[in-house]
Symmetry: C2
Subunit: 213 residues, 2 copies
Amino acid sequence: MIQKTALLSPRPVRSRPTRAQTRERILNGALEAFAERGFQGATQEDICERVRLSRGAYNSNFRSKEELFFAIYDRTIERLERHLETSIASALSGPGPAVENFVRAFIAGYAFDRSWYLLQAEFGLHALRNPAVASHYAARQARILSVIEEAVCRVWSGIEPGRPHASSRVARLILAVHEGAMFQRLLEPSAIKDGELLALFAEFLVSRSVIDA
Amino acid sequence: MIQKTALLSPRPVRSRPTRAQTRERILNGALEAFAERGFQGATQEDICERVRLSRGAYNSNFRSKEELFFAIYDRTIERLERHLETSIASALSGPGPAVENFVRAFIAGYAFDRSWYLLQAEFGLHALRNPAVASHYAARQARILSVIEEAVCRVWSGIEPGRPHASSRVARLILAVHEGAMFQRLLEPSAIKDGELLALFAEFLVSRSVIDA
DNA sequence: CCATCTCAATACATACCTGTATCGAATGAT
DNA sequence: ATCATTCGATACAGGTATGTATTGAGATGG
């Protein structure tokens, strides 16, 4: 026999948000603040104001700024990874030339918005300066790279059998182009049309003879 | 007749450094400090300690942190531009395949050291956040881009007459790859051999049919 | 040789950010 | 209903960075 059933308790309306909810709100504020003011520039006050919470909530939920930074970075990179995976998967299963589909999917799936890019860039710089952070960052980036590499292999398996033995470096190359392009595009939106550099890059990629070199 | 000649005045030994000298020392300290601690993280104390000067010298020479940041960035990017120009020029005039020479020269000339990269990246992030800084950064980057584009055109003119009409975008592409590769390499030196990504990219470039597309 | 000026070092005042401690309201268990 | 607990808001203290003012040593010119 079931002792406690929720059947008769239709969850009373809480006037007080759950801990997870406030934590989430702070993460949202942190994303914005870190993106717009940088890690050092973002203050507790700044973060909390954006989501209408007090520093009490902040300090109650996160032990330190570093901890919050890691948390928001992890959340962002995980969403990014999933986003990239699904959009690549759907693109590769569609009709049309695989390479173009892949590139388009990459642009769509990895074209995280301004805040995501800025946060990731900020964390990247942080990683370059702190060896401890570097390993964390590298591990996260490795997952992104493997998603890209997997896609590269699948694309090329449709062109010729076997995986290109430079797939790892190709993945890094793709990522490098994207990061660089993303930066230039955010800086001068007028200078580069949407995904233009990646599209140009895709044309290079099509000359697949190079892959096997 | 020359009234004042320096022939008999072999510049007395100054016990006090010139203003330009101390300014230069502070710039050196700023380069290191901004690179290793970031713009916000670098303090006056930090900068001054590295070059054995007091904050008095700092505040006497620079009105604000922003001003110093701009000054050290400008100095760095100018050196970078000259470095890139000369190394490309000498490489293109040498024997061997032009594309490879160019890429090698690019790596050598633009492979500024860790501090230069970090400073530039930091300034880039700053530019993304402050529109006022963005225009300054874009102007500087435009000069770098034109140097690269010029080289691209010269390389391709040796292959076929006329300049590729996508040369501007190719230049941006090269810069994007380099920035991205530089970052990955600094983060995981073991993962990428020296200029490996750019070399791979050079192989793509060799299939010049794409350029004219 | 003296007077003036330059410039970097030191001292000071102000502002601000972080983390801790305290307080009060909402929750849910008995 | 009551009591203990959770949790976010407010108040406080410590540390630190910035910019200004002041001072004294060294240069410069008459």
